[in-house]
């Protein structure tokens, strides 16, 4: 058997129930791995050694008395932009360096109530702003497969922690690719649910009309298993979907005969647009690996059809108007007044401006500035309203596509993990890294990044499966049949 910290959720569940090991032993194995590796990878900002072992002891009690739930005794970690009661949650920004939320995010509460063991908080780009995890005020996260490469972002710490067996799974947040892209860079399964499927209550809001919460796991099965536990309406989030979530495991193993798979041609041609550095080609190895996965689907009895999503190339421009606009509004709450760190100021204005200057990294400031500009009188129609209108067209592209096919398959990222520092000084190049993950987010449809093997340099490559709104089961079924672990 593998080392305990290397187990999947499913394997850990079986081991705990058959008494092969205890939750304390499983938790200790993860904590030992964190101690050994976190100094190199920097996937954790906060490690809860004592409370994790205490929670594991309680979980062992529940398991021994037959009061266990599916996630009892499973050690997990949480992106630091998601609130955890009693455990410091910084959002990777110094303005919340000492912030201890008095409540759990709804999804985290669901897991902890079952006896899930919280190992600690994962590093991320501050408030989710980034595609490389280099915009954290706690240092970049390194890719476990090659420490000179980024782990992806914004949930880089979550993906790296699970990939490096420090954590059995992580709960993260995906606004425009923040779960899927790092999962792809680190060889993990990363799932963005339909907008509204999981409660957003207790996540630090970035762009409220796009934010979603989902899992990063070692297998597609584990992602479905987590969704089974965290999905559903919440009175604390009025945008949650009211009809009950499906049974994600019921048809999980069903074969794919007759499944209609669409290949959006725009994802395989040059994307990005006319601006300097804006246009780049899909990496050959990524293209090849994606093509192999498509061949596999053909062998499994799927029908393959080329389709068109004509507004794909406008997605990044739409995304980087909408997100900074909503960001600038949401982050107004961080002003040093009611919580978080407060700097001295000679008057109220000075207190606000200094607290925010000291507490935010450069990219957070940039996004607030772009958003403030885009929403200001005279520019609202040209930027924000225009973007929301093009959003309608992007959403319509998906609606039309899903009349013809059940799922779409694309690369998750045009390239494998890039070098630490490579794009850091070019915000536009970094924004364009989201080119294949942001369209689904804009349309609010679910998508999964499936581990699909490695390139010649040994870096993981992910393939993305996009489904229609609320049809998450089809995505899991397809992902299950094509995932390539390790």
């Amino acid at each position: 058997m593998s080392k305990l910290n290397e187990l999947t959720i499913k394997e850990a569940q079986e081991g705990l129930r058959s008494k092969k090991f205890t939750a304390v032993e499983l938790t200790q194995a993860c904590l030992d791995r964190i101690k050994e590796r976190n100094k190199d990878i920097n996937a954790f900002i906060t490690v809860c050694e004592e409370s994790a072992l205490e929670e594991a002891r309680i979980a062992d009690g529940l398991l021994n008395s037959g009061q266990d739930a599916p996630l009892t005794g499973i050690p997990f970690s949480v992106k630091d932009a998601i609130c955890t009661a009693g455990v410091r949650s910084t959002g990777s920004a110094k303005i919340l360096d000492n912030y201890i939320p008095p409540f759990d995010a709804t999804v985290i509460g669901k897991i902890r109530k079952q006896g899930g063991v919280l190992l600690g908080k994962n590093n991320c780009d501050a408030f989710g702003h980034g595609a490389s995890n280099e915009n954290s005020m706690y240092g970049p996260v390194r890719n476990p497969y090659d420490l000179s490469k980024v782990a992806g972002g914004s949930s880089g710490g979550s993906a790296a922690a699970v990939a490096d067996n420090m954590s059995i799974f992580s709960i993260a947040e995906d606004t425009g690719g923040s779960i899927r892209q790092p999962a792809s860079f680190c060889g993990m399964a990363g799932f963005r649910p339909t907008y509204g499927r999981n409660s957003r209550f207790g996540i630090m809001p970035m762009a409220s009309s796009l934010d979603t919460v989902g899992p990063i796991t070692k297998t597609v099965y584990d992602s479905a298993l987590i969704m089974q536990q965290i999905a559903g309406a919440d009175s604390l989030d009025a945008t949650t979907i009211v009809d009950s979530a499906p049974d994600y495991l019921k048809n999980f193993e069903q074969d794919l005969k007759g499944m209609r798979v669409g290949i959006p041609k725009e994802y395989f041609s040059a994307l990005g647009g006319p601006a300097s550095g804006g246009e780049f080609k899909l990496d050959d190895e990524v293209k090849e690996i994606t093509a192999k996965q498509i061949d596999k689907l053909k062998e499994l009895g799927c029908t393959i059809e080329e389709i068109s999503l004509p507004h794909t190339k406008y997605a990044i421009a739409v995304y980087y108007i909408l997100v900074p606009s909503e960001d600038s509004s949401n982050l107004g709450r961080l002003d040093g007044i009611r919580y978080g760190s407060r700097q001295k100021g000679k008057d109220l204005y000075d207190l606000y401006a200094t607290s925010r200057a000291e507490g935010f990294p450069e990219e957070v400031k940039r996004r607030i500035l772009i958003g403030t500009y885009a929403l200001s009188a005279g520019y609202y129609d040209a930027y924000y309203k225009k973007a929301q209108t093009v959003r309608t067209l992007i959403k319509k592209d998906f609606d039309e596509a899903f009349k013809k096919v059940d799922v779409l398959i694309t690369p998750t990222s045009p390239f494998a993990a890039f070098g630490v520092g490579e794009k850091k000084d070019d915000p536009l190049a970094m924004y364009l890294a989201d080119v294949m993950v942001s369209p689904a987010a804009i349309a609010g449809v679910p998508a999964l990044s499936v581990p699909s093997g490695k390139n010649a340099a040994g870096l993981p490559i992910g393939v993305q499966i996009i489904g229609s709104r609320k049809n998450e089961e089809a995505i899991f079924r397809v992902g299950n049949k094509i995932e390539i672990r390790g």
Binding site: K313, I337, R338, D347, K365, R366, I370, V390, K395, P427
Partner: protein
């Protein structure tokens, strides 16, 4: 249309963020490049297209607006930067004027 450092200064003031002059210059340069890229949207004919502000299809989700007991008052107070006699201390609102 490039953004000048003067405009960056104005936006930063509206957004309540103090910037150094190096930061102003850098934001002017990088935000100008981003805004320039956004011009790609002008290619799209959006006449007669309605904006999409949210994708849920939900409308007017309401709840009764009434006070509820707060069970975490102590924990909330513990997060406040400055407390005196169980009250949050803030600087006077009218004590100073905005910087220009």
């Amino acid at each position: 249309m490039p953004l000048s450092t003067q405009e960056v200064k104005k936006i930063a003031q509206l957004a309540r963020i103090k910037l150094t002059s190096e930061e102003e210059a850098r934001h002017a340069e990088t935000i100008s490049a981003v805004l320039d890229y956004m011009n790609i949207l002008n290619e799209v004919d959006t006449s007669g297209v309605e904006p999409t502000f949210q994708v849920t299809g939900l409308e007017d989700v309401t709840r009764i607006d009434e006070p509820r007991d707060c069970k975490i008052t102590k924990e909330l107070m513990a997060q406040m930067p400055e407390v005196e006699n169980a009250e949050l201390v803030v600087p006077g609102v009218f004590a100073g004027t905005e910087e220009e």
